[in-house]
């Protein structure tokens, strides 16, 4: 066992579960505290700095932060982090005065961005204030990428999206909309110092089962259909619709179909309901809108009779898991014919690089993905960088944003002639004591035991009538302030100082969660040489969570060491309040250059 290295931020960042889980490492507890103080603009700017699209992500983020939230480990539900982010966006004032200034004197470097999705726009936002010229190419007439084409307006209103895109576009992006790049070779010959590819995963996957060829007029991929609805090319749909697939695209398809007037919308998915890829809240919303979701059916045939499209035949399956958790689908023998007039296939999507010539030195791997350095996102052509879905296949918006930060750092280094891997900037950090008095902290240290608040929405009957009316209303101020109190302030760390500890045991006595332990190291005076089993067997709660950190001190005066299990620490500060010598203090983690922490 090793004494924890507290000379860098890594241990502390891992303890802030939500921030660690966020691909862009958004300082979640910090902005929730600002919301609790009604400082919405400040809360928004904290978000904007790290995740670039707070209004968008406050509605449609995949929320990796929420399952990570420590509250899940001490009660049932996480803090409604995503919905609080929206509160900051909904209630902020004019933020233009706070945006970074873009220098009029440029640095002479020109960067081409291909695709105007979240990854490219993040690169633009990070590089513009540094003096780069940014030239953006987008095949659609408007920016936004999949945020616009694949996410329906009833989940993400166009005004919210436009506002946040404009913050970046108005920083001085040279936009070329409706301009498709058909040859990277040609672009390489143009006068660009670096090129960033953020073209997403634009190809919806087909299901090539019998009947696929003949039925093609009745079959469409989900993402292309959603995009044609978004851009007004499609405004009606037949009465009976089958959606294949169980991800968020499938949920968007079925809910959109319902709004266009389909009377009978059925989603069929081969997995079980619980194992569906769609976010739980998307599934629930679809069901609330009267969508029939049938799990455990795998499509085997598009049924066509006398040149007439009849529907889709399914085999009923059962998910069987082996001891490694690997799933196989076993047919039960039952089949089901679902008659319909339109099939929307939402079973996945792929990247597409027909416009990248294979003879220009840009290497592709065996999955036909560009071979990239994971840390720098640089391709084998040193001036070409990738990010977002284009880099590693379909992920989500927040991962694309994180890639954008990473790539922007790489491009900046590359343009200065520096090594993109070895010379990456380090993030500085500080731990700031929150002590105000004997029992007084500058954060809300007492624990709120309330259950998670539900987000209000318009009535489900109303919801399915309009394509563009947002379903969720967001938290009002009262709910927002209540929900903000639930945050455990995990970024306010319990910091331990060996030299002042007198081992009075006040901290381990008072800790409500049994986190703090003083243990005997055995026959050695070195923590490194101590038997980990011997140390762990002395913990107050021996069954530790292997995914969580331990804070291990250096030996104390008596030779004992302090081990704090960070797993369920409430950050209530009682240990520090009970410490007579100040060996414990509650200190807030502040990281500068958050973008550089993304590895």
């Amino acid at each position: 066992m090793k004494t924890t290295d507290t000379s860098s931020y890594h241990h502390f960042l891992k303890v802030v579960d939500c921030q660690q889980a966020c691909p862009a490492h958004t300082p979640v507890p910090e902005y929730i505290r600002l919301i609790a103080e009604k400082r919405y603009t400040d809360a928004y700017m904290i978000n904007w700095e790290s995740n670039v699209f707070p209004g968008v992500l406050g509605r449609v983020c995949d929320r990796p932060c929420e399952p990570a939230c420590r509250r899940v480990r001490v009660e049932e539900k996480p803090v409604a982090i995503c919905r609080l982010k929206r509160v900051a966006a909904d209630n902020k004032d004019d933020i233009y005065p706070y945006l970074p200034k873009v220098p009029t004197q440029k640095n002479g470097k020109r960067i081409a961005l291909i695709g105007a999705g979240p990854a490219s726009l993040t690169v633009a936002r990070d590089l513009l204030p540094l003096g780069y010229d940014i030239v953006l190419f987008e095949q659609d007439m408007k920016a936004g990428g999949m945020m616009r084409s694949q996410i329906p307006a009833f989940r993400l209103p166009e005004t919210v999206l436009d506002e946040e895109l404009n913050y970046i576009l108005n920083m001085g992006v040279e936009g070329h909309f409706g301009e498709e790049i058909s040859s990277l070779k040609k672009l390489l010959q143009a006068n660009f110092d670096a090129i960033f590819v953020g073209t997403g995963a634009p190809n919806g996957r087909w299901l090539e089962i019998p009947g696929h060829e003949q039925g093609c007029t009745n079959i469409e991929t989900g993402i292309s259909w959603l995009s044609s609805v978004t851009f007004g090319h499609t405004s009606s749909i037949p009465k009976r619709v089958v959606v294949l697939g169980g991800g968020n695209t499938a949920m968007d398809c079925c809910r959109t179909a319902k709004r266009l007037g389909a009377e009978q919308v059925t989603v069929l998915v081969r997995s079980s309901y619980d194992a569906m890829k769609a976010s739980p809240w998307e599934k629930e919303d679809a069901k609330s809108e009267g969508i029939d979701i049938k799990p455990n059916y795998t499509p085997i045939e598009y049924v066509i009779k006398n040149d007439q499209f009849i529907g889709v035949r399914f085999a009923q399956v059962e998910s069987v898991y082996d001891k490694f958790g690997k799933r196989t689908l076993q047919e039960t023998g039952e089949t089901l014919l679902v008659e319909c007039d339109q099939v929307l296939v939402a079973v996945g999507q792929d990247t597409a690089f027909p416009w990248i010539e294979r003879d220009i030195g840009l290497r592709f791997n065996k999955w036909q993905q560009p071979a990239l350095n994971k840390a720098t996102l640089q391709s084998s052509l040193e001036q070409v960088f990738f990010g977002g879905d284009a880099a590693f296949g379909p992920e989500n918006i927040i991962s694309a944003v994180a890639n954008g930060h990473q790539a922007a750092i790489s491009i900046d280094l590359f343009c200065q002639g520096k090594n993109t891997e070895d010379e990456r900037p380090e993030s500085g950090f500080n731990l700031v004591s929150q002590k105000m008095g004997i029992h007084d902290w500058s954060y809300q240290s007492s624990i709120d035991h309330q259950a998670r608040n539900l987000v209000p929405h318009i009535s489900w009957d109303e919801a399915v009538k309009s394509l563009n009316t947002e379903v969720e209303l967001g938290f009002d101020e009262k709910l927002a302030l209540e929900e903000a109190q639930r945050c455990l302030n995990c970024d306010v760390h319990t910091v331990f100082n060996e030299s002042t500890c007198i081992e009075c045991s006040a901290c381990d006595d008072v800790c409500p969660m049994d986190c703090i332990n003083f243990v005997d190291v055995g026959d050695t005076d070195q923590v490194e040489n101590a038997d980990a089993q011997h140390l762990l067997s002395q913990l107050r709660v021996k069954e530790i969570n292997p995914d969580q950190e331990l804070l291990v001190s250096a030996p104390l005066k008596t030779g004992h060491i302090m081990i704090k299990d960070e797993d369920v620490c409430l950050h209530c500060g009682l240990c520090a309040e009970r410490c007579p010598t100040g060996a414990w203090d509650m200190k807030k983690l502040v990281i500068d250059n958050i973008g550089a922490t993304i590895k």
């Binding site: 624990i447 081992e503 045991s505 409500p512 969660m513 107050r540 069954e543 369920v568 009970r578």
Partner: protein, 350 residues
């Protein structure tokens, strides 16, 4: 400000035979000074009662006046309690014990409460062999009145204000041994591995049990000239023997059967297990224990652990031959059997 401890608890803490976890044995959040040894004693009492699966409502917490006597408020908030006059806890405990012999009596006192104003009371409750656990949180100063030297402060030490201790100190363990206590131990608030088993054993002991607990006063007696400071005690503590209580139904686990243990069988078949840290130590001879305590003290060391245990002890109710049913449960008929019985009694004197 946090005056409330969160009701959330670790999802994987154990429960005892009653289905309670240790948090169910807590009391209010302490208002003693941060780092007070008494809070560690509180925590040890909580742990011991939890491990013994004591039903909280079958405990009576008795105390007098002082920082130590505030402590019962911080453990077992579902137990009965009486916070009495300064130094008079033994009388009140005796009364309560007379009325209801079925409760477990936990007396919590301090060096002022027991070694000064209540010394007479202390002596007599030991003599009486009241069936209780009497704990003294011994810090050598009067913390509640800002650190004057207590009667248990070692002769020759100075307090925080520089006042020299001119008089011989009182050792309550030695007094308890002289006066016939049947379970006598000393421990340290900072060593729960020793203290918790001792409290468990003392609660299980049927007779008068006394534990003197060195409990540093972090505010007024934790300075470098003190012999009751955390640092001094950590450096000068020696353990003689520890007693643990092994319930009858519990299988003897490997760490108990290490060969160092000596088992004493109790009335109900459960075991009192004595683990000797020092080979030649005897827990059966009170006079030898007195000599040992004095011997170590002369060397500047603090001898802790179980000093003396008499498993065949009798207590006040047995000595007085009172009835098995608690007196407070006797009905009117039993207490006033009527004129016929009275006549019989009167006739026996004729």
């Amino acid at each position: 400000m946090s005056f409330i401890k969160s009701k959330f608890h670790h999802p994987r803490i154990p429960t005892n035979d009653l289905g309670l976890n240790y948090r169910d044995y807590e009391g209010s959040l302490s208002t003693l000074c941060a780092g007070c040894g008494h809070d560690a004693i509180t925590s040890a009492v909580v742990q011991a009662c939890f491990e013994l699966s004591v039903p909280p409502h079958q405990v009576a917490k008795m105390s007098g006046i002082g920082c130590s006597s505030k402590s019962p408020n911080y453990f077992l908030n579902k137990a009965h309690g009486f916070n009495s006059v300064h130094g008079r806890m033994p009388s009140v405990a005796t009364g309560a014990n007379m009325a209801n012999r079925d409760l477990i009596y936990l007396g919590m006192s301090g060096d002022g409460d027991s070694a000064s104003i209540g010394l007479g009371q202390f002596s007599h409750v030991v003599r009486r062999q009241l069936n209780m656990l009497y704990m003294v949180a011994n810090n050598g100063v009067y913390g509640l009145t800002k650190g004057q030297l207590a009667a248990t402060a070692d002769k020759g030490v100075t307090n925080k204000a520089g006042e020299l201790s001119l008089f011989t100190d009182i050792d309550l363990c030695i007094m308890a041994l002289q006066l016939g206590a049947t379970f006598v131990a000393r421990s340290f608030s900072g060593d729960k591995k020793q203290l918790v088993p001792l409290i468990k054993a003392a609660i299980s002991h049927q007779g008068f049990a006394y534990i003197d607990i060195i409990s540093p006063c972090v505010t007024f007696n934790n300075h470098k000239d003190s012999t009751r400071s955390y640092d001094y005690v950590h450096e000068h503590i020696t353990t003689a023997a520890i007693a643990d209580f092994v319930p009858m139904k519990k299988e003897i686990t490997s760490d108990c059967a290490s060969g160092e243990g000596e088992d004493i069988c109790l009335h109900d078949g459960s075991l009192m297990r004595i683990r000797k840290i020092q080979d030649d130590y005897q827990t059966t001879d009170p006079m030898q224990a007195i000599v040992d305590i004095a011997k170590y003290k002369k060397k500047g060391e603090i001898l802790t652990g179980l000093f003396y245990l008499d498993p065949t002890a009798t207590h006040y109710h047995e000595i007085n031959n009172t009835c098995d049913m608690p007196l407070n449960q006797l009905t009117q008929d039993a207490l006033c059997p009527g004129s016929r019985v009275l006549t019989g009694i009167n006739n026996s004197f004729r």
